[in-house]
């Protein structure tokens, strides 16, 4: 068994197990921490697949920025209390799990038909696609063939920042002006 196979067979059960554990947690903080574990295992898969730049980006952006944002909102809202197990729609849980398992089986059949379980990747990835290092090669592709989409993402980020400022500034003036919100504020105080 080679080192790459060993890494895969160590981290694949951790990845799937932490995702299932996230699903079963009733406490939102514990679910967020299991999701961080899952993001780290996915970053290890990126490293095995020769995407060392995305490995760093995955840890910085997902495990760093996005999960800190999630934990910040959980703490801000104080929704770390457990959710009720009461079903409003009868059979929703059973039906949801059945549909999820159905999607998994369908995807695995599609992988078997489209890729094949024994297909190996070409061995010369580091010489052909990753020539000069992954970061150098990916920047050559990103800033030549995908330069226009790259610039468009900057507009997207500005729009998202403006949207958040609008959403955050509105709730101070309007949200507190309805009677039920004032009652809720008085209740909280």
């Amino acid at each position: 068994m080679s080192a790459e196979e060993l890494v895969f067979w160590v981290f694949a059960p951790i990845s799937v197990g932490s995702a299932i554990a996230m699903l079963l947690q009733r406490n939102a903080v514990h679910a967020a921490l299991f999701l961080v574990v899952n993001f780290f295992t996915i970053s290890v898969f990126y490293l095995v697949l020769g995407a060392s730049f995305l490995f760093a980006v995955q840890i910085i952006v997902y495990a760093g920025a996005i999960m800190v944002l999630f934990l910040f909102v959980i703490m801000l809202l104080g929704v770390d209390r457990e959710e009720s197990l009461l079903e409003r729609l009868r059979g929703q849980r059973v039906l949801g799990v059945a549909l999820g398992v159905g999607i998994a089986l369908e995807l695995i059949v599609a992988i078997r038909a489209g890729v094949g379980f024994a297909t190996h990747a070409p061995a010369n990835f580091d010489e052909v696609a990753n020539r000069g290092g992954n970061a150098v090669a990916i920047s050559a592709v990103l800033f030549r063939r995908y330069f226009f989409p790259f610039e468009v993402t900057s507009i997207l980020l500005i729009v998202a920042a403006i949207a958040v400022v609008v959403l955050a500034s509105r709730q101070g003036s309007i949200a507190a002006s309805t009677p039920e919100d004032r009652a809720a504020d008085a209740e909280a105080a």
Binding site: L49, I66, R93, A104, H120, P149, L167
Partner: protein
């Protein structure tokens, strides 16, 4: 590279399905949102695996763009959840039966 590429795709399919079950079953809006993130990550993993299989970097660039869009989406989505929570005092999707803000 001795691990067949389909193993990564199977892990990706399993993570995507677990995320789907989370969206369908859970009621806390924040955990539903985390499940959506799990689905996005699963698809990113399959993009990187296909990039490895075809010996091209286009899949990695697409995964990079998807991370940028996911970051913007998380910021706006969490702001909406905070706004809804301020008004309704609840993050459970069972209590959000009307779209009126």
């Amino acid at each position: 590279m001795s691990t067949p590429i389909s193993y990564f795709l199977v892990v990706s399919a399993m993570l995507f399905s677990i995320g789907t079950i989370g969206v369908l079953v859970r009621k806390n809006a924040l955990i539903i949102f985390m499940s959506v993130e799990l689905q996005l990550n699963a698809v990113n993993l399959s993009l990187v695996a296909f990039s490895r299989m075809h010996n091209e970097l286009d899949g990695q660039v697409l995964a990079f763009f998807s991370m940028v869009v996911a970051a913007a989406e998380v910021v706006v989505g969490l702001a909406i959840i905070v706004t809804v929570y301020r008004r309704r005092r609840s993050a459970s999707v069972d209590d959000l039966t009307v779209l009126r803000g």
